[in-house]
């Protein structure tokens, strides 16, 4: 259907009393179809009410235009009736008089009796016939809001604008009114725009939810389509599979905005000390056994040893938090899945190439594929057997969990599935789930299995919910796990800090690799600051030392933290990951892949760090990349390799344009 309301490149600037100006909204673009219900959500002061007022015409944009059915909105009018948060009833007029005031003014052409019947009809519509002669002061908040709704509907607006309509009501009244409003809107096909703070309200009522970023210069941070079918019932929508993912999407967005605001307010002062450009670092990590080097560097003082006095670790629950933290600039550096630097650099994140570099591979291995216990009982212990099972259970939707498109888990899981003849997009569905949530989802039987870092494979096995069907050994022994990632501009601005960070983490890795320290590290990791889990779920040593009553298939992934050829970033490996991400359409394969690899892998920084630590003997491993299926990878011909693979998407090859690297001002 054609566009009903169009908000076209709106800017809104308010002059400030002390001179200067405040940019409330910047470049807002929104199209609303007829009959659609759109919610605007965001933090206080993000300009959502301002936007609503501009659609209403109560306020005019500084730049850009708003149109209703192609007509530019220049002033308010009864065709765009507003329902205000505080009802805006006139306290000296009764319910009937309040509605009649609107009806008489707008429908002045109709006869008196007609107008009277319109008023009566709408009083009855909201179920207030018993209170029509009462003054607003004698009504409860919910009744007042019903009067306001009746007044708005009575004049048959083309567009209904609601400014936090239920904000001041108690939960029960709010619920009832939401359903009433929904019914009325559906019945009369009313186009509505609602401003709200309430995430559940937005999901319940809307067809689309527009999320606004924090001001100043708020813009649309994202638009969610709500695919829950109508008519909706308040108690039933929560059972719809999309409900919680939509809800958590909005909450994630709002939390993210809050953090960005906090960072802005903090005005991060750069503290330079000990010849380092910046010693106050925020370092992001996700609680996994693989975060051991980060935790050890903090707890055992390796950061301080190398002059980084003020490192604070920021625990993120998902890799997406790391991506947003690096992009938003509130994380200096982060533990990243191995594929993330190339993924960010080639624009994997919403087609916005963000040059990111890595100078250290922190861990290798440590991942496993877990399938639900029921498969073990049915004798499914290989991908091929799983495929048989999938064929047998035709028609059902099978979901597997992974943690991030750019992580080794995704790449390995897809590779494992594809090698077993399963198309990871068509035969099953891969869903991004935060690592810590995997076991819960497996338990709830919403996923068949997952690929994730430890301790989540071991834990599922020990709790009897699943079993490890493949670990690093079975897929790619010694594959890169987590790397240290920073933005390229950050690395250029703080080169010495970058080296110090690599040194601290490299030393921490050496500490982790020493079996003497394993018990201590397990204790550190199990503590509340890191994984907050039981110690027995965290295993660091040789898998063979560990026994469990679930016989052969309960091996856990073997982490490698330090050693010859382990830590130096390898271009070949990043190239392989790039081909895999291109294979599944996560990124286009960059025609300028050589340039990108040169920029992503900061081998120089690593070499400087290892030389300064006098680890000159750390060799670079040159063994070729070969996975369990035996297909060799030729680093000279990645495109040929891609073409050679069996199951894959139609990958694209494109030039990825990056800004020229910024160099440090002398």
């Amino acid at each position: 259907m054609s566009v009903f309301v169009a908000v076209d490149q709106i800017d809104k600037v308010f002059p400030l009393t002390g001179g200067g100006e405040y940019i409330a909204l910047k470049g807002i673009d929104l199209q609303i179809k007829k009959g659609e219900f759109v919610s605007l959500i965001g933090h206080s002061g993000c300009g959502k009410s301002t936007l609503l007022n501009m659609i209403a015409g109560l306020d005019l944009p500084t730049d850009g235009i708003v149109t209703l059915e192609g007509q530019k909105i220049k002033e308010p009018g009864p065709d765009r009736m507003v329902i205000f948060q505080n009802y805006s009833l006139l306290p000296w007029l009764s319910v009937r008089q309040n509605i009649a005031l609107a009806v008489d003014e707008v429908m002045g052409n109709s006869s008196k009796s007609e107008r009277k019947s319109v008023v009566e009809e709408h009083i009855n519509l909201v179920g207030l016939s018993h209170a029509k002669d009462k003054l607003p002061g004698q009504l409860s908040g919910g009744m007042k809001q019903r009067v306001a709704i009746a007044r708005a509907l009575a004049i048959r607006p083309k567009l209904l604008l609601l400014d936090e309509p239920f904000g001041a009501l108690d939960a029960l009244t709010r619920g009832n009114l939401q359903e009433q409003l929904m019914q009325i809107c559906e019945q009369y096909r009313i186009t509505s725009v609602m401003v709200t703070h309430d995430v559940d309200e937005a999901v319940l009522l809307s067809d689309r939810i527009v999320m606004l970023t924090n001001g100043p210069s708020s813009k649309i941070g994202g638009i969610l389509e709500v695919d829950i079918p109508r008519p909706r019932k308040r108690m039933e929508v929560v059972n719809h599979p999309s409900y919680y993912s939509l809800r958590s999407e909005i909450i994630y967005f709002l939390n993210q905005q809050k953090r960005i605001k906090k960072v802005r307010a903090k005005k991060i002062a750069v503290v330079a000390r000990h010849g380092l450009e910046k010693v106050n670092l925020d370092l992001g990590f996700v609680p996994l056994t693989a975060c051991a080097p980060v935790a050890v560097a903090q707890e055992k003082g390796f950061f301080t040893k190398h002059g980084l006095d003020e490192v604070s670790l920021v625990r993120e629950t998902s890799w997406r938090g790391i991506v947003d933290g690096i992009e938003g600039g509130y994380l200096d550096a982060a533990q990243m899945p191995a594929g993330m630097p190339t993924w960010l650099t080639t624009g994997g994140n919403q087609n916005r190439p963000l040059p990111t570099v890595t100078a250290l591979t922190m861990t290798r291995n440590g991942n496993g594929i877990t399938l639900a216990q029921k498969f073990y009982e049915q004798g499914v212990i290989t991908a091929a057997q799983y495929k048989q099972k999938l064929l047998a259970l035709d028609g059902e939707k099978h979901t597997l969990g992974m943690v991030h498109p750019s992580s080794m888990h995704n790449i390995l899981l897809r590779y494992w599935l594809a090698a077993g003849g399963i198309d990871p997009d068509r035969d099953v569905e891969l869903k991004t789930i935060p690592p810590a949530q995997m076991v819960a989802d497996l338990k709830a039987n919403t996923i068949d299995g997952y690929c994730v870092g430890e301790p989540w494979n071991l834990r599922a096995a020990m709790e009897g919910h699943g079993f490890t069907v493949a670990t690093d050994m079975e897929i790619w022994q010694g594959h890169p796990g987590k790397v240290l990632g920073v933005r390229e501009d950050w690395a250029n601005r703080y080169p010495n800090t970058h080296v110090a960070l690599v040194k601290a983490l490299l030393e921490a890795g050496r500490y982790c690799a020493d079996t003497k320290n394993h018990q201590e590290i397990r204790e550190i990791l199990a503590s509340r600051n890191y994984l907050a889990t039981k110690e027995e779920y965290i295993q660091l040593g040789e898998p063979s030392n560990y026994s469990c009553n679930l016989n052969e298939h309960v091996e856990y992934a073997h982490h490698m933290f330090f050693g010859d050829g382990l830590n130096r970033p390898s271009r070949t490996e990043h190239l392989w990951m790039m081909t895999q991400m291109a294979r599944w359409g996560h990124i286009p394969f960059p025609r300028n892949w050589v340039e990108i690899l040169e920029r992503v892998c900061r081998v120089g920084t690593f070499s400087t760090a290892s030389r300064e630590l006098e680890l000159g003997d750390l060799k670079y491993r040159r063994s070729p990349i070969q996975l369990f299926d035996g297909v060799a990878f030729d680093a000279e011909d990645p495109i040929g390799y891609l073409n050679h693979l069996g199951i894959e998407r139609n990958f694209t090859i494109a030039e990825v344009h990056l800004n020229s690297p910024t160099s440090v001002a002398a």
């Binding site: 109560l58 009736m81 000296w92 005031l101 002061g137």
Partner: protein, 279 residues
């Protein structure tokens, strides 16, 4: 049975009074004790040697005041009139000056409140004139209007118009944005806006102004009459008594003035309750 019924009723009645007393004695007793205490202290102080101010009992013991107290309605022509007529004369002036002030104050107040430009232009003048004491207006009024009567009314007017005007302006400016939004969204006509929104919304402010105004005008008339000699009115009555050293007459007149002021204030409050109950 038939005999006992009235007795029960009577007892009930007694009970009602008793329970009313029980309930309200905390509200009734303290002011009575306070007033009595004040009068006793006054009486004692008045008996101190060298004190020329008579005590409250002199209102009755002094023959002139007793007569004034007993015969408020006598009229021997000229200035020699009972206190009722003196008060009525003053009230009459207040009524004229105050009505004028109310009409002018409310209309200009609405005009100024609706129009920020006029507000900016006139506000300094208002604030300046508001500060001029009523007595300072008397000579100007006498010079300008030549006669006592219109001059007195003018003084009342000029004293009480400012609170009415300024409060009305404020009331109009303070119309909640929500109501203005209702007007804008519904595109209400000016007439409807005035009667359905502006006036009811500003009414509480207007009444606040009216109440302050009535108090001020009553203050002003006394002051004005004291200065404008030779007219019937309670202000001049006091001045006359002072000139002739009838101190207890002054005290009696002051009691009249206080009582009338209180009644005026309460009447406006009562009218406000009738017209604008929700505020």
């Amino acid at each position: 049975m038939a005999v006992s019924t009235p007795r029960i009723n009577k007892r009930k009645n007694n009970n009602a009074i008793a329970s009313f007393w029980q309930k309200n004695k905390h509200n009734i007793l303290p002011p009575i004790i306070g007033i009595l205490g004040f009068l006793i202290v006054w009486e004692v102080v008045a008996m101190l040697p060298g004190m020329r101010l008579p005590g409250p009992s002199s209102l009755w013991t002094d023959e002139r005041t007793r007569n004034l107290l007993l015969y408020p309605f006598y009229d021997r022509g000229g200035l020699d009139k009972g206190l009722f007529w003196q008060t009525m004369a003053s009230l009459g002036r207040v009524a004229q000056g105050y009505s004028l002030a109310a009409i002018v104050g409310i209309s200009i107040g609405i005009l100024v409140g609706l129009n920020p430009l006029i507000d900016k232009a006139l506000d300094p003048i208002f604030q300046f004139l508001r500060m001029v004491a009523p007595l300072a207006w008397v000579p100007i009024a006498l010079v300008a209007l030549q006669k006592n009567q219109p001059a007195a009314i003018f003084v009342i007017f000029i004293t009480s118009v400012w609170p009415i005007l300024i409060n009305t302006t404020e009331g109009v400016k303070q119309i909640p944005q929500d109501y203005l939004n209702v007007k804008r969204v519904l595109k209400l006509s000016n007439k409807k806006f005035f009667f359905k929104i502006l006036f009811p919304s500003a009414l509480p402010y207007i009444f606040t102004g009216l109440r302050i105004g009535i108090g001020l005008s009553w203050l002003a008339i006394i002051a004005a009459e004291i200065v404008m000699s030779g007219i019937v009115g309670i202000g001049f009555f006091i001045w006359d008594a002072y000139q002739q050293n009838y101190i207890s007459e002054i005290i009696l007149a002051v009691i009249y003035i206080g009582a009338v002021g209180l009644i005026l204030d309460r009447s406006i409050a009562y009218i406000q309750k009738l017209i604008a109950p929700q505020s």
